[in-house]
């Protein structure tokens, strides 16, 4: 299987990538290529021009920044899974990165490509939404920031303009005393998330002071579980409280439900309650 004919450009800088995107109609960025090239081989995507950003060093790596970390868009899943800074500030991101695909996929796939691809079965969009991350982008019109929860706009669609490049992701530190967790029901063949659940719960004086819970894989974009969050707030985070909170997720999943030959929409919804319960249990046990 080959992709259709393409013209390939290797961008040496973000500015050059923006310029190449602007001057080539229908051009697409190429990062790790582990979502785009499979689509091109199947002719589900056929961009005439590819702009390879894979060698732009400025887009790689994790650094500490006021109150959190900044992750370059080209940082791979393998680098995130093993980064001490990530483990220290946002351990749930490292936990999720280690669950992506397989070792070779984690060596090539990038966090920027993962969120830009906007596949609801991906892991990091769910986690970054729960963490309240911000996506930093650069385009012809200058720089701007987009909240993680506003970035995916539909199935494989994102909020970027045609000439914009996602350059980095700012992730606030999980507050001390809070616990975080990501659990997924991996598809048995691809290991993409049939259902994924991310939870961050903060505890103060023995009760839950705040919670952030997001579910992936069920709707076309990561779904915030507001009813679960409301049920957790003020609770003692005991088993009964977690059971009741997780059961409330059904009320949060009313958008576009997805179903396929492997898992129907109804099954995904049922599994969402199960995986949210597991994520809450793990996050609560790590809090305090």
């Amino acid at each position: 299987m080959f992709p259709a004919q393409i013209t390939y450009h290797r961008a040496g800088s973000v500015a050059e990538a923006v310029q190449l995107l602007s001057s080539n109609e229908g051009a697409k960025l190429l990062a790790g290529g582990h979502s785009l090239l499979p689509l091109m081989k199947l002719r589900l995507a056929a961009p005439a021009v590819l702009v390879d950003i894979g060698r732009i060093e400025a887009l790689k790596g994790v650094s500490a920044s006021g109150g959190g970390i900044t992750i370059g868009a080209l940082t791979t899943h393998a680098e995130i899974a093993s980064s001490d800074l990530v483990k220290q500030h946002a351990p749930v991101l490292a936990e999720a990165a280690a669950l992506v695909g397989d070792p070779a996929v984690r060596n090539r796939g990038t966090i920027g490509g993962s969120v830009s691809h906007a596949d609801p079965a991906s892991d990091q969009p769910t986690v970054l939404t729960a963490l309240g991350a911000t996506f930093n982008v650069t385009g012809q019109g200058g720089d701007r920031s987009i909240a993680a929860g506003d970035f995916a706009t539909g199935l494989l669609e994102n909020a970027l303009e045609e000439n914009e490049v996602l350059t980095s992701i700012s992730v606030p530190s999980v507050p001390s005393g809070a616990g975080s967790a990501y659990v997924k029901f991996p598809h048995p063949a691809s290991r993409y998330a049939v259902v994924g659940a991310a939870a961050v719960v903060a505890v103060s004086g023995g009760t839950c002071s705040s919670a952030s819970v997001v579910v992936g894989g069920v709707e076309t974009t990561p779904a915030r579980a507001s009813s679960v969050e409301a049920a957790l707030a003020g609770s003692d985070l005991g088993d009964a409280a977690l059971d009741a909170a997780a059961a409330a997720v059904g009320g949060d999943l009313n958008g576009d439900p997805m179903g396929d030959v492997f898992a129907s929409a109804e099954y995904r919804r049922a599994m969402a309650a199960v995986y949210v319960r597991r994520a809450l249990g793990a996050a609560a046990s790590r809090a305090g």
Partner: protein, 157 residues
């Protein structure tokens, strides 16, 4: 249209003029003539095309040749000195870790990275490290035993 590329494969510079859409696995097999690297699924899932790309394992069916231009690649042909087998090759042989052998080059390349990162893995860790490699013959037991054996031979425990 073709473009010039140069990739160092197993320490040797390999230059060529290739279509921009060519996949690295085809450059390795057809331009460099190294047919140890296989194409199994072509959909990024089976791992028979696994090579080392700039020091880490990668599925060569999911990388464009032009993307890899300027990089270094190690294939199954490059892991031994050409006289003695690599300990992983020896261990796959001794443990009957293959039947048809189609998955073996990819298994060995993936196992090589696994042992580099974790010189004495448990059987569970071996299975986890080979998650991206599919074998349709062996049922994996002997593959796991082979990697365990190779780890010992390579001094991991």
């Amino acid at each position: 249209m073709t473009v010039p590329v140069e990739i160092t494969i197993n320490g040797k510079a390999c230059a060529g003029d290739v279509e921009e859409r060519q996949l690295l696995v085809h450059f390795i097999r057809e331009n460099a003539g190294l047919t140890g690297t296989k194409v199994g699924c072509d959909t990024s899932q089976c791992g028979t095309c696994t090579v080392q790309l700039d020091g880490v394992s990668a599925k060569a069916c999911t990388v464009l040749t032009v993307q890899a231009s300027g990089s270094s690649v190690t294939t199954i042909e490059g892991i031994s000195d050409g006289v003695d087998l690599h300990p992983l090759q020896e261990a796959f042989w001794n443990n009957h870790g293959l039947q048809c052998g189609f998955c073996t080059p990819g298994m060995i390349m993936a196992a090589n990275e696994l042992l580099r990162n974790n010189p004495s893995p448990t059987r569970e860790e071996i299975r986890h490290g080979l998650e991206g490699n599919i074998c349709r013959c062996t049922g994996y037991q002997n593959i796991v035993s082979a990697v365990e054996d190779a780890a010992k031979a390579m001094g991991g425990r």
